[in-house]
């Protein structure tokens, strides 16, 4: 195969028209993965499982069965799962030495549903250990690199998932977003990333980070990829009591988009602000109404997030005792230890009210901000991160500096609302730029419609970096 297709539609068209077989597709991807090992996007590549699934896909194509794509919406779609998603029989590390030889005896709901829909698993992607980080550098398996510029981080924590899709080492990938871990790496790597509504996709079988914030999403080159995956994986599975089958909000023909003034403050890269404003003009030209809104508690999101999240982390990582599986607690890396201790501290006697309870109350104020905004607008348009991809090592020595990178992404997690990160060209240094669309809970179709509108208006055509 000369060129790999970059969309689900393109992939399936080629398969059904027998331009290539699913096995040939896997050949091409495995070759690309092998040629680009320096990106360190994968922790585990699973050739055997990939070929097994590809042969099944071939059989389905050969069968000539009708409405194949309706029955198997991910037929022949190669997927790389963030190494936080449990995969039966395939090593799952969470990016940590604690689980370096852990082989799960069951698969996550997301993995299982994608497999049933015809997806072909290529492997498990690199990430910050336990999903703790905004750069990928906290991985115990070494950092993944940004395919657009290998001196830069791909973002985190879903570093390898974003890098692998950007570099064409998989068509799509899965990720988890607890404070921005899908939207920020999607933004740094110039691809689309979806953080769904909290409670729309089951967390069953995914290594837990912060249970009131964790959201299971995906990456692709365009909106249609993440939308297709979302429709395959969402809904009740009987294993996650936060998931409810809820009717999704439908997009209107004319929508109001809010631009929050608190997201355009000092410290935000000028090219990023300009790009987001440019995007707003694209929407306006396409008939959407723009209006300035205020989310006054935005500046407190980092403090709230870095109290609530480590508190839940310290509880979730309490289970790793090295007895039933995994290595002992001595194998935790520095960032995991920091967050466990931070969380333990804010929950400990004498500090609970001052930190944890206070943060939970300010969280309510942050949610009020969004509730008020969504009485006036259908969606919010904002930057994803204050900066484009930064240099490897630039922030890794200073935890607080790294934490501040989450300022524009963490609020959506605290409020449980969906967010869609969209690519929007490049800056002067040829690093990807983009924006995010936020909507009320269960408004994913609204975000998809707006994302697609932007793609159409800008004649978006996905490309691969020169590697």
């Amino acid at each position: 195969m000369k060129n790999i297709p970059l969309t689900i539609k393109g992939t399936q068209k080629g398969l059904l028209e027998k331009e290539y077989s699913a096995v040939e597709l896997v050949d091409s991807y495995l070759q690309r993965i092998d040629n680009n090992k320096d990106l360190n996007a994968y922790i585990t590549v699973c050739d055997e499982d990939a070929y097994k699934k590809a042969k099944e896909a071939n059989k389905l194509v050969e069968s000539g069965e009708e409405n194949l794509i309706e029955k198997y919406p991910l037929l022949g779609v190669t997927v790389a799962h963030k190494d936080l998603f449990l995969t039966k029989g395939i090593r799952t590390t969470a990016g940590s030495k604690v689980l370096e030889s852990y082989i799960p005896s069951y698969s996550a709901t997301v993995v299982e549903r994608m497999e049933k829909a015809g997806a072909v698993i290529l492997g498990k992607t690199n990430c910050d250990a336990w999903a703790h980080g905004a750069s990928g550098e906290n991985s115990d398996f070494g950092p993944a690199l940004n395919p657009w510029n290998k001196n830069m981080v791909p973002g985190g924590s879903s570093s390898g998932s974003a890098a692998s899709v950007a570099a064409g080492l998989s068509l799509v990938s899965t990720g988890t977003d607890t404070g921005g871990s899908i939207r920020q790496p999607a933004n740094f790597c110039g691809i689309v990333g979806l953080k769904p509504t909290y409670g729309s996709v089951s967390r069953y079988g995914v290594v837990a980070m912060a249970s009131s914030l964790d959201s299971m999403g995906s990456f692709g080159k365009s909106v249609n990829e993440v939308e297709t995956i979302f429709n395959v994986v969402r809904g009740e599975d009987g294993f996650d009591s936060t998931v409810k089958n809820t009717e999704l909000m439908k997009p209107k023909s004319r929508m109001k988009i809010g631009i929050p003034k608190e997201y355009f403050v000092d410290g935000v890269d000028e090219e990023i602000s300009r790009k987001v404003m440019e995007a707003s003009k694209v929407f306006e030209k396409a008939g959407m109404e723009l209006t300035e809104i205020s989310l006054p508690h935005t500046k407190y999101a980092i403090s709230v997030y870095y109290i609530v999240q480590p508190a839940e982390v310290s509880s979730n990582l309490g289970r790793y005792d090295g007895i039933r599986y995994g290595n002992s607690r001595e194998s935790f890396g520095a960032e995991a230890k920091r967050r466990i201790m931070l969380g333990t501290y804010v929950l400990s006697a004498g500090y609970y009210d001052a930190y944890y309870l206070k943060a939970q109350k300010v969280r309510s104020r942050l949610i009020e901000d969004f509730d008020n905004a969504f009485t006036k607008v259908d969606a919010i348009l904002a930057p994803v991160s204050p900066t484009p991809a930064f240099k490897l090592g630039e922030k890794s020595g200073d935890p607080l500096k790294m934490y501040l990178a989450d300022i524009f992404t963490a609020p959506a997690n605290l409020a449980g609302i969906p967010g869609l990160a969209m690519p929007a060209g490049f800056n002067k240094e040829n690093l990807p730029l983009g924006f995010q669309l936020l909507g009320p809970r269960f408004s994913e179709p609204v975000l998809f419609a707006l994302g697609k509108l932007y793609e159409e208006e800008t004649n978006y055509d996905p490309i691969l970096p020169k590697l």
Binding site: S105, Y106, K337, Y345, I367
Partner: protein
């Protein structure tokens, strides 16, 4: 200004069942103090009549029928460890022999 002492950090590590080295204490103490100091900004926010949020779904008491379904076999349940004896996990002794007998 909150300034954590080495003893504070050791205490928290003990609560979290983490063994940390002297070197780590020197590294973590200022880093954690720095982050906790940053939280001070929250005191600016008026929260007197605000209810705390612990989750965003609004769901309460979620039930499902307790039907018998497939589950992990005993073999699968212990497949994650190599410290197994007769189908059981081997753990460190938690009790010691009485010395007053």
């Amino acid at each position: 200004m909150v300034k954590l002492s080495k003893e504070d950090v050791l205490h928290v590590a003990k609560l979290a069942k983490l063994d940390i080295s002297d070197q780590e204490i020197d590294k973590f103490t200022p880093q954690l103090s720095n982050v906790i100091n940053y939280f001070g900004e929250l005191s600016e926010v008026e929260t007197e009549k605000v209810e705390p949020t612990s989750q965003t779904t609004g769901l309460e008491n979620v039930f499902r029928a307790d039907n018998i379904g497939s589950s992990l076999s005993p073999g699968e349940s212990i497949s994650g460890s190599d410290k197994i004896h007769n189908g059981y996990f081997k753990v460190e002794a938690v009790l010691t022999e009485r010395t007053d007998k």
